[in-house]
Every structure is written in C-alpha cells, then in structure tokens.
C-alpha cells in the first residue's frame, strides 16, 4: 500500500517515545486509569488472522494497553476480553513472526474486532512492544507515511517524501530543495515538529527546505488543516510530524542499515542506526544514527543542469530512562548540507533575463560532476532536546519538553569578492544564525465522565543574527512567544467531540540596518501581538467501516519577520518583505477560519478510501508574488519577489481510494484539487498547486514458506498534473513566465525481501519518469530556467540487524 487510511495508529513500537508521542499527541487516549465505574462489563472479541493467507493465528497475544488485560487466541484465532469499561483503548496484538499491531478501539457496547497481522520481515525480533505513540488531532484529516511507505522514499528529502501524501505538494527549488505545501499553504503556515520539537530554521525563501534528516523518521504524519490550538498559531495550514521510532525497550542491541543509489544524478545515500537496551538496566535505552547523502549533477532530458549537486551529513543520538511512572530522554541531532544553486538565474540585463526565462534549456549546461561550485548554500542545524514525564498519581500525567536549536545558514554568491584578500577569506555573502529555545509543559488529566484533556504552557525565545561583514537580508530580531492552551475531548457512543482554546502573546523586536541615501543607520522597532486560536470538531463513527470527521478552527497569526522585513539578494533572487514595499504600512496579523469535512471508508475487504473537502478563509493573507519589472542591480536584472497582503479563500478536495481487484492485485488512486481565490481583487491567487491525480496498480506475490524471496511486489504508477490555468488576470504581466504545460509521468517499482542466511535484505528498484518526459512544474522556482529531472532509477537496500539473543514475544 502506498498510502494509508488516515487515523490508523501505527503498530505500536514504543517505550520512551512516549515522551515524543506526547508532545505530538493530543490528549485523547492516555493513561486514563480511572477506577472502574459500574457498568464495566463490556466484551471485546474477535479473531486474529494472517493478513496474507487469512488463516487463523492460534496463540497470538492480545493486550489492552490501558488496562493491561491480556489473553491469547484460541486454536481458531478467537479471543475474548471481558469486563471492559466504555472508552477508547489501544489493543495490541502480537504473534511470533508477525509485525505487532496496535489498533484503537472505541468501546460503547460489546464489540467484535478482527486483527490481521503482517508477517514480520525480522522474524523472532524479540522486541516486546508496549505503550503507544499518538499523533494528530482526531477530528482533522491526517495522513501517515509508515515505515513501509517511507522505505519507498528513502534517499529523498523530507519535502519530497511528503508529496506521497494526497493534498501535499512541494514548493521546490531544483532537485535538492523541497518545502512542503499543504492544501496550498506553506512556509510560515506549516509547522514541522521534528521529534517533538518545532523546527525553527531560516525558512525565508522557498529555497530553504526543512533542515531534517528524513532517515530519522520511522513515521511521518501530516495534519491537513489547522491545528493551531495544539501546535501554535502558525499551524494554520497544517502540521508535519516527523517521528522517530521509540527507543528500544527490550534488552539487546539492534541495528539497521539503509543504502540508496540513484541513476540520474549519481546520488548515493547511506544511513545507519544502532540502538540498544541494557539487560541489567532495563530502564536505560539508547540510539545512535547517522546519514550521508551526496548527489552530483542532475540530468534533465537532453542536458545536465549546471551546479545541481548537493551533499549532506547528519547524525543524532538519544538516551532514555524510563520507568512506569516517570521517564526522561535526551536527544541531540545535527544536520549539515551544502546545496549548489543553478547559475542560470544569474543573468545580465533585462534582455538577457527575458531570454533566460524563455529558453527551452539553460544556455550553460555541463557534464556530470560531484563538485559543488559557487553559488551554494551551506546549512547546519542542531537540536538538543530534553523530554520527561511523571505520572501525577491518579490525577493524570505531567510532561515537559525543553529544546534548543541553532540554525546556521551561509550563502555563497556565485561571484567571489573582487578583492583578492577578501576572496581568500572565502566568506559567505550571507551568514545567518538563528537560535531558538522552546519549552512546553503539558498536563493531561485522567478520564472523567467521558472527558479527556490537557492543559499546556508553551514558550519560545528566538533570536536571529547575521555575521559582521555579511549582507543583511533578514534583520536582527528577537522574538518571545508565550502561550497557554487547553484541549478537551468528550466521547459518547459513536460520537467524539473535541474543542480547544489557545492564547499566545508575541513580542518581536527588530533591528534593521538601513542605508537611506547611502548613510548607514539602524532602525529599531517592536511589535506585540496577542493571538487567540479556537477549535471545535467532531468524529462520528457512522458504521464500523465509515468514519466522518468535522473540524473547524479560528486562528490569528502574527506576521513573521521574513514576511515583513526580508530585503536583499540571495541566490540571484531579490526578495522584499511587506513592510518595506513602498506605500505599505506594517503587515497586519492574518485571521484564518478553517473548515474541513472528511469521510473515511476503512477496514473493508475491497474498497477503502477517503474524501476530504475543506475551506480556509484568510483575512490579510500574506503571499509572495513576482515584482515586474524586476529589480536591477549593478550586475543586471534579478528575479524579484515581494510580499503582499489580501483576503483569500482556499477551497479544495482530496480524494483517495484503493480497490482490491483480486487477491493479490490492488488498484489505488488519488487526486487533489485546490482553488485559491483572492477575494479582495476577485481573481485567482498566484502560485497555487495545479490539479493532480495518481493511479497505481500493485501486485503482491504470494509468500511461500520455503521461498527465498518474501513480500515481493511490483507496482506501476501514473501521475498526471494539469496546467495551472487559474492564475491572476493579465498573468503575462504578473509573472516572468506563464504556467508550464501539464504533464504525465510513468513510474514502476518492484521490491522483495531476500533471506541471506538469517539476514532479511529488503531490496527494491524504482523507476521515475520512465519515459524521460520533459516537463516543468509551476511550483518549482527553477521552472523559469530549466526542466525537471529526467528518467531516474533508484536502488534501495535495507538491512535490519539484531544482535541480541532471539527471544520470542511473550
């Protein structure tokens, strides 16, 4: 399956990730250890089957995590658990040789629930799995890329991988930089939680991708729609949760190795992970992980794209201590990358510029090389995080997350300094440091009369500087944010209602260098905002196979410093913030009203799917658009952009579905449509994703017990993207180039697991753009100058290793 029904919680690995999960979690479940009320006599029963063969599994363990009730299946696969109270439970089913699965079960009456387990690639892994990791507000449309889905994206950047999620596109700059866009919203409106910490990089400019190693994640969850109450006022467009696997909680040492190679740009990636849990100190777990990734020149059909290589080196480590009533974890990660910038954007005069953007291919092309020349960006991002929790007796659970992250971004111009002494120093033209400290304190109260909920305090201190002697682009600023939120959930029968409130106070102090008439000066300003947010939603289980979700949210978002004060040239692009556009006053806060309705058809034998319709109205919507005629400096003309503010309405729908054609054949499809209107000017919004659809057929071969190849599959995938025709009026005078034509791409993927001795080697090969189609995407900033990547074959290998003595799951 290459996409998943949202809302399904992934198989619970667990342990220390509690701390992580918590951060990302809404309080719904959880540690509700209420003393049993009167009518706790409900029966949960069902069967446990092998997902592949549909045969009954005898002796499988079924555990209700919350109550610790456990049983084993009978010879016909049946299980019974009685004396359960009404409520939401996480039921974990495990069986030797199968991947354990944890599912959420909402009990109001006696229920019958079947489980189908997937054979585990690592048989006899011996991991005892408990606890859970929970994501996302229940009432929002969410999508999860599981470890299996992620396996098909290994080697790609985070933003690129997220495009697998329906309704998510990317704002792209060449082959190395992808910024996730959810339902047409991006950058300052999408919050990324990297292992529970809000990612705070220098996200100015679409050529600044999230500084995250996707190999860290064993699961990616996307909340499509506002989740501002829980995650802060800038989560208007949505949230991306990057979740590592929880730290190991069974004694022993395990490891994993991932290798990726790509034919198009010679990309090679290797990522390794080692983790362990001490037999003598079962509370102590640890993990170390590292990734290297390097790509050479990308090949568009017919030519190589100059200076399109990139390299990356990342590592992380975590140590956790966990007891049943308290726990703590320390996590550190470092991300380093260097990305080449296409020189085609560096042009001379107006005429050259017009020629450059009208060319079929860049004037200067090149041969293949791994060298990265000027211009390039060099980024380092470090995160240090501490999380901990304590159960506060019967009252609930208190947890905290404290993190500090430092983002250092150096951008080297194509041009070296003319002065040899300065050139010898090889200093970047732009050199920025952004340091952010975040802290959160969360108290989840125990379940009380169907209510579960949490109260939280969150604070951020952020400061942004550029190095002496480097060019100003974003001014010096210091930002304090303090917030208080409260979320409650109420569950009754088939209904679940959720409501939340949040209040943030933000204090932004800016020091900006000016050069009015050539005289240097510093302009200081201070802005204070109080931004409230509210949400209300409901989930209704219409039947065991149909769930309806309604979510609404009202959010106010203070404009970010880059939206207001960016000013200058980087990577041959000129950008100007709203406040600095002549004639504009200070940018006003945005007010957003979201509505989303999702219908999910799930757990059917053949047809499953999901439909989401949404509308987001944003008053004083801040967006970037080209400046025409473009700005001129002494080197010539620059592609130029400025922030503007208007009222916007975004509507759209995401539809996805899968149909089991025959026993081993799965047909799947998805489509996403966004319509963005500028309601102040009564015209379409600029830079909205074009309509897109995808269709795939997958064949999964039968697993023979004695076969050397297991879990083999083949998949054909077709992607179609239409031309964006809904653009502002007089578009030729509003952008440097009209939206590119629509395109269709063909992909093919095949994979299998080879058993090499006791080692299961997961191998796959994937071909993208097999017909070597020339195309450009409307949301890629390189589309003015160059085509997208041509044919690409990717080879992936994953090797899980287990060093401990094999012990079967109890």
């Amino acid at each position: 399956m290459f996409f998943r029904a949202p809302g399904r919680s992934r198989g619970g690995l667990a342990g220390l990730a509690l701390a992580v999960g918590l951060l990302c979690a809404l309080p719904r479940l959880l540690w509700a250890q209420a003393p049993a009320p009167a009518n706790c006599a409900l029966l949960l029963s069902g069967r446990v089957l092998d997902h592949e063969s549909r045969t009954a599994l005898a002796g499988a363990t079924v555990v209700v995590l919350e109550t610790r009730q456990a049983t084993q299946t009978e010879p016909d696969g049946h299980y019974h658990l009685d004396n359960l109270c009404p409520g939401t439970y996480h039921v974990q089913v495990s069986f030797v040789g199968f991947a354990p699965e944890t599912n959420e079960v909402r009990l109001t009456a006696a229920a019958y629930r079947d489980f189908r387990l997937h054979p585990d690639a690592v048989a006899l892994k011996g991991a005892v799995v408990s606890g859970q990791r929970v994501a996302a507000p229940a009432t929002q449309a969410t999508a999860t890329l599981s470890e299996k889905d992620l396996q098909q994206t290994r080697g790609k950047t985070l933003g690129e991988a997220l495009q697998k999620v329906n309704g998510v596109t990317a704002l792209q700059t060449g082959p190395g930089i992808f910024k996730p866009m959810i339902h047409g919203l991006h950058s300052n409106r999408v919050t990324i939680l990297n292992n529970g910490v809000r990612q705070e990089g220098q996200q100015w400019g679409p050529e600044h991708g999230p500084e995250i190693d996707p190999f860290l994640a064993s699961q990616l969850t996307v909340v499509k729609g506002a989740a501002s109450v829980r995650y802060g006022s800038d989560a208007v467009g949505g949230v991306v949760l990057v979740q590592p696997r929880p730290l190991r909680d069974s004694a022993g040492t395990g490891a994993e190795l991932n290798l990726v190679g790509m034919s198009n740009n010679g990309l090679g990636a290797a990522s390794g992970m080692v983790e362990g849990n001490l037999r003598r100190l079962p509370a102590l777990s640890w993990r170390a992980q590292g990734t290297v990734r390097k790509a050479g020149t990308m090949r568009a059909p017919g030519y190589y794209l100059n200076n399109s290589g990139f390299e990356e080196g990342n590592f992380s480590g975590a140590v956790g201590w966990r007891k049943s009533t308290y726990g703590a974890e320390v996590f550190y990660s470092q991300f380093n990358t260097r990305i080449g910038i296409l020189p085609a954007a560096h042009v001379g005069n107006q005429q050259d510029f017009l020629l450059a953007v009208s060319r079929d291919r860049p004037l200067e092309t090149t041969g293949f090389t791994y060298d990265i020349e000027r211009a390039y960006q060099q980024v380092r991002h470090e995160v240090l995080k501490f999380t901990g929790f304590v159960k506060t007796g019967n009252a609930g659970r208190l947890s905290t997350t404290v993190a500090q992250q430092v983002d250092a971004r150096d951008e080297y111009d194509k041009y070296r300094p003319r002065n040899d002494n300065r050139a010898a120093l090889d200093r970047p033209a732009l050199s920025y440091t952004n340091r952010t400290s975040t802290a959160e304190l969360l108290w989840e109260h125990r379940a009380w009369r169907g209510f579960t909920g949490s109260v939280g305090l969150a604070g951020t201190y952020q400061f942004n500087r550029y190095a002496d002697g480097s060019r100003q682009f974003i001014p010096f600023y210091t930002n304090y944010v303090g917030g208080l939120f409260w979320l409650e959930q109420w569950q009754q029968g088939r209904w679940l209602l959720e409501g939340g409130l949040r209040l943030d106070r933000r204090d932004l102090q800016v020091k900006r260098a000016t050069r009015e008439g050539g005289v240097f000066g510093v302009e200081e300003s201070r802005f204070q905002y109080t931004t409230p947010a509210a949400s209300l939603g409901a989930v209704y289980d219409a039947s065991t196979h149909l769930t309806l979700r309604l979510a609404s949210g009202l959010t106010r978002r203070a404009p970010a410093p880059n939206e207001r004060f960016s000013d200058g040239v980087h990577n041959a692009q000129y950008e100007l913030g709203y406040d600095l556009v002549p004639g504009n006053g200070p940018a006003r806060p945005e007010t957003a009203l979201n509505l989303g309705l999702t219908a999910t058809l799930h757990d059917n034998p053949r047809l499953n799917g999901e439909l989401t319709v949404y509308q987001t109205r944003i008053r004083d919507f801040l967006y970037q658009s080209p400046i025409l005629p473009p700005v001129v400096n002494i080197r010539g003309v620059l592609a130029s952009w400025q922030f503007q503010q208007t009222d916007a309405t975004l509507r759209g729908l995401d539809v996805s579905g899968s149909y089991q054609l025959a026993q081993r054949w799965l047909l799947a499809g998805k489509a996403a449509v966004v319509r963005g209107r500028d309601t102040r000017q009564d015209e379409w919004l600029i830079f909205m994703p074009a309509d897109r659809a995808e269709l795939s057929v997958r064949y999964e071969a039968a697993n023979r017990p004695d076969g050397h190849l297991q879990n083999s599959y083949v998949q054909v995938l077709g992607t179609g993207v239409a031309r964006q025709t809904r653009v502002p009026r007089n578009y030729a005078e509003r952008d440097y180039r009209l939206p590119p034509a629509g395109y269709g791409l063909l992909g093919l993927e095949a994979g299998t697991t080879v058993h090499w001795g006791r080692l299961p080697l997961e191998l796959s090969v994937a071909g993208a753009n097999l017909l070597n189609q020339r195309y450009r995407d409307y949301l890629n900033r390189y589309r003015y100058f160059a085509d997208e990547m041509g044919r690409n074959l990717t080879l992936r290998l994953r090797v899980p290793l287990e060093f401990s003595h094999a012990k079967s799951t109890p």
Binding site: G388, V402, D468, S470, F520, V631, I634, R635
Partner: protein
C-alpha cells in the same frame, strides 16, 4: 512508590525545566555596516573630447544597495565624428569614505577585463591600457563616434566588467560578471 522523594524531585525538576532554557541576553547586538561585503554602487564613464571641451559623464549610481530606491542611470549624448578619451571610475559609496574600486581593479588589472558594446549608435570603444601580461584592461579607453543617429533613435552602450582571476586570456569568456550596466547613448 517508595521512591516518592525521587519522584517529587523529578517533578520539581520538570516543572522548573523551562526556566533552565535561560536565554542569554543577546539584545545588545546591533547590526554593523557590512564592510567586508563588496559592493559597487557607482560606475562613472568620463569622456573628454581629445580636441578639448567639456567632459561628458555616463553614470550608474545606487547608493542604498540592492533594491530600495532604483539606481539612477544617466546616459550619453555624444558629438558625431569625435574622439574622446574615456576613463572609468568605480566606487563603493556604502563605505565611509567611499572606496575607490577602480584603484583596486587597477592593482589587480591582470584579473579584470572591461567590455564595451555599443548597439544602435555609431560608437567604437578601444581599450588603451594594458596589464602586466600585456593584456588589455579597459579602465582607460578611446571612444570614437561616427555619423549621428537617425532622428528619434537612441542606442545603448553596455559596459561589462569581467572578473577573471587566474584565467584572463584577453577574451570575455572566462570568469564572472561583476558589473553589467547599459547606458542610453546617442550621437547627435
């Protein structure tokens, strides 16, 4: 629950944790002029008729740096069939006092080459200075005009500075463009 003491201590630590993320006060920092960051704000092409007379000047000037107020560009109105002695002046007026970039270019003349391209007007520019490798530079030039422009037409003179460290060979191809300015130019 016998380690209640430990738990309480732990709880207290958690509650206090946000306080630990103390933020050293960085508020005293202030942006400083970016002196290491080279800019050319001004390019002047000064033309003096060889027969004497007033000096004509074409100028590109953008003292507030990239963006902001647009650069001011003043062009040339030249006399027909006249020879001028040309001199290029480049300045960085963001520095105080203004930095003489042309002097720097002269010092590193073996890494620099100016190109002069006229279009739509009868103007020919010849470089008259040489670097230590006997390759032309272009800080000093001779400009020769021919017949006047047809009435109502204006041409352009494009001046380009190519930075060619270690690669200068007398042609425009190697290196990067440091300056590219186009002046409206007419012979009348």
């Amino acid at each position: 629950m016998k380690n209640l003491l430990f738990r309480s201590a732990f709880l207290a630590m958690l509650a206090a944790a946000p306080v630990f993320s103390s933020c050293s006060d960085d508020n005293d920092d202030t942006p400083t002029p970016d002196d290491d960051n080279e800019q050319i704000t001004t390019l002047r092409y000064e033309l003096t008729p060889t027969t004497g007379g007033a000096t004509l000047t074409a100028q590109y000037r953008d003292v507030d740096g990239d963006g902001g107020a647009a650069p001011l560009i003043s062009g040339l109105t030249l006399a027909p069939n006249t020879t001028y002695t040309g001199k290029l002046v480049l300045l960085d007026e963001t520095k105080n006092p203004a930095e003489d970039i042309s002097a720097e270019v002269k010092e590193e003349a073996d890494e620099h080459l100016f190109l002069f391209e006229a279009a739509g007007t009868n103007v020919t520019v010849t470089r008259t200075d040489k670097d230590k490798n006997n390759l032309e530079v272009g800080l000093d030039t001779r400009l020769q005009t021919a017949a006047a422009n047809a009435t109502g037409t204006t041409g352009t003179l494009k001046i380009t500075l190519r930075h060619q460290p270690g690669t200068k060979n007398g042609t425009a191809t190697p290196g990067d463009t440091d300056v590219e300015v186009t002046f409206p130019t007419v012979v009348r």
